[in-house]
Symmetry: C2
Subunit: 419 residues, 2 copies
């Protein structure tokens, strides 16, 4: 049997280390040229497969592929595009198989979160039914850290490190200013459904570095009076306080706190964050001068302060995905298995995709302190190893040198398909 | 004559490298123990002098003082407190002299921006009149980069580097997402009066890394239609675009764009930034999906990505301040003198304080591109060396190790004074 080509695509919100997984996939495939043909990447994720817009990664130099390891974002483009159920969307799934068949693709590596795990599983199932079996391997990725079975998700550790470092640095700043000026600093972080990222703000303080930090988790309904009392007590004790607020915090009415219906002077709706809402509350009720920041993309793109642990795991999972394919595995996802907290030890495991798809791992309540405003020791033990180590990108003239690939298209063989 | 002690204080908004200047002052004084007695620091800046709340830096270990070089924020506390003119505020100036006299202080090192340069000059003048001559040396510091004579101000280079790195990273992110999702990323940066910091966003793109970046400077009155047309053309050409907006951008009516009178659903005023205002405009007029970030304190506290050039200059200026004092200088400020752009060469010069106080250095119009949305080659030649080099702090368990001093108080000798 002629050797098959591989397809690789990036899905959903990108991270500081998703390209490290791509690097792991491509470098490992290149080392196994006797078994795997070319690696084609989908331009802009799965859309590239549907539109037969494939990138020939063989056109990239070994040096450029190696540089993916230290380059944030999605080098081939990602997309927010969820294939629905087989019943509604059979045409799209069939098109995928058709494209894979046309380009002799036998391996499907999909690098994403929960939705893409589901797509990956369905592609595997349908391909079998259609008589063109594919080995579909999911490579985990999400800053939200909400995939099941795997101990953590590549991308999360680096966001966590960014948040912990930033909160520590900003806390030092506000402490300096607090005598006559700013007393409360509010930082908004990502995490629409779960407080994993907000929890990382708690790492800014540790036994060597006591800092007053109040965390607002999406898991804890926001109680305004309790929050204000907490901030006030912190400011009275320390002279200042930092607040880490998850974008997903909801009030007791179940509505997002950020969704306050802000209007401009003409009555037009404004798209605000939750940080200014919280900061305004502090000022109105307590009169403390404040500053606020919204990290947004900066937190997930900050490859310059990525976690070495995260980079290593992202690469290892990409590498393992190819190794699993070579072993004949199908409909699986390599995972991180934690062996011990201290010293931190981990290995790569394997999970069947039907146990991964559509399952969201929430943060346990036991990870949140009793008063709801901090992290527990258990949470700290879980998070601490994930931010360990630095893995600086190369710099030139003061700026990180991130690679941009040539991304040469593979000639099309099929008629066009409208997405 | 018995040797005199020195007083050192930090003033105004802190930076990633103001402690490097403190380190330069204290280490150099320690090397000259035959001529300079103790270095007392003002707790919370000049307020510490007025209230006789002095910190005995001799109680700190050499290791901890050395660690100031890599610690952001103001280790002794800063303050926003401007002494007014001598006429209105004679009592406060006299109190300063009284405290200095009580503690045998002969050297006054003031580390701050334009306002503190003015205070420093007045202290020098009054001390002479009052028959207790002090050598008053100003150590420049400000992320705003608006002090005259000196080629640049310590603190600015590190903010510039943070902004350039962040805009580059976020641009890679939005590029990945732009096919189906976010097309415009807006980042708000500091700079109420001058566009120095916003200009640094332009460094994110260079000849090796072409990125579509639109900068909104406080120097250029905001024209909504022109701005929207520029963003639209960038998105049509590149598929995406990053916008760097200075907090100080004003509309053609002269009002801050951030001051849009945002109201919540109950009609209460909300304190918003300018990033969401600009982002909302883009969405309303062009329909592009966007993300926005407000860096706020993160940009000036980010010691983890400080510019090596900036750190070296901050230290060198602190060191020079002491050397100038030892040479008998008074009412002066050490400056950075640029000798060449490429290769970047600089040395330390000296400026008389009466040429520094109350003079604000604006960004030249020639630093802004003709269309008003970018930086000129001249600006790039000026900025590029200032972000050069990395100077990572030590990390432990994934977190930067910043020092917190003991800050032991010097016993008081005078009756209390109300500030």
């Amino acid at each position: 049997m002629a050797k098959k080509n591989a397809f690789y695509a990036q899905s959903g919100g990108v991270t500081a280390v998703i390209n490290a997984s791509a690097c792991g996939v491509i470098e490992t495939a290149r080392k196994n040229k006797d078994k795997i043909g070319k690696v084609y990447a989908g331009r802009n994720g799965i859309i590239g497969a549907l539109t037969e817009d494939l990138i020939d990664t063989a056109k990239e130099s070994a040096k450029d592929i190696a540089a993916l390891r230290h380059t944030p974002s999605g080098a081939f483009g990602s997309c927010r595009f969820k294939l629905k159920g087989l019943a509604e969307n059979k045409l799209q799934y069939e098109r995928l198989i058709e494209v894979f068949k046309a380009h002799n693709i036998g391996y499907f590596f999909y690098n994403g979160g929960g939705d893409s795990a589901d797509t990956c599983l369905k592609v595997s199932q349908l391909s079998e039914k259609m008589g063109y079996p594919l080995q579909a391997i999911h490579v985990p990725k999400t800053v939200d850290n909400d995939l099941p079975i795997t101990d953590c998700c590549p991308g999360f550790g680096s966001v966590a490190k960014y948040v912990a470092v930033s909160v520590r640095e900003a806390s030092f700043d506000v402490a300096s200013m607090s005598k006559t000026s700013t007393k409360v600093f509010v930082m908004e972080v990502m995490g629409r459904h779960a407080g994993w990222i907000a929890a990382a703000g708690g790492l800014a303080a540790d036994k060597d570095c006591d800092l007053p930090i109040v965390i607002l988790f999406p898991e804890v309904p926001f109680g305004k009076e309790r929050f204000l009392a907490k901030v006030d007590s912190m400011v009275k004790k320390f002279g200042y306080c930092s607040v880490v607020v998850s974008e997903g915090v909801k009030g007791e009415d179940g509505k997002f706190l950020s969704d306050q219906g802000l209007l401009d002077a003409f009555g037009h709706a404004q798209l605000g964050g939750v940080a200014p809402v919280v900061a305004s509350m502090v000022k109105d009720a307590l009169g403390y001068k404040f500053h606020w920041a919204v990290a947004d993309y900066l937190q997930r793109a900050a490859r310059h302060i990525a976690s070495k642990t995260d980079v290593e795991q992202a690469y290892a999972l990409g590498k393992k995905a190819v190794e699993l394919a070579l072993k004949g595995e199908n409909a699986v996802m390599p995972t991180v298995e934690r062996l011990s907290d201290q010293p931190y030890k981990w290995k790569i495991g394997v999970a069947p995709l039907d146990k991964v798809a559509n399952v969201e791992k929430m943060m346990p309540r036991s990870f949140i302190s009793r008063d709801g405003f901090g992290i527990s020791d258990k949470c700290r033990a879980y998070l601490a190893p994930l931010i360990k180590g630095e893995d600086y990108p190369p710099f030139k003239d003061g700026l990180p040198q991130y690679v941009r690939l040539k991304n040469v298209a593979v000639p099309k063989k099929l008629v066009a398909f409208k997405v």
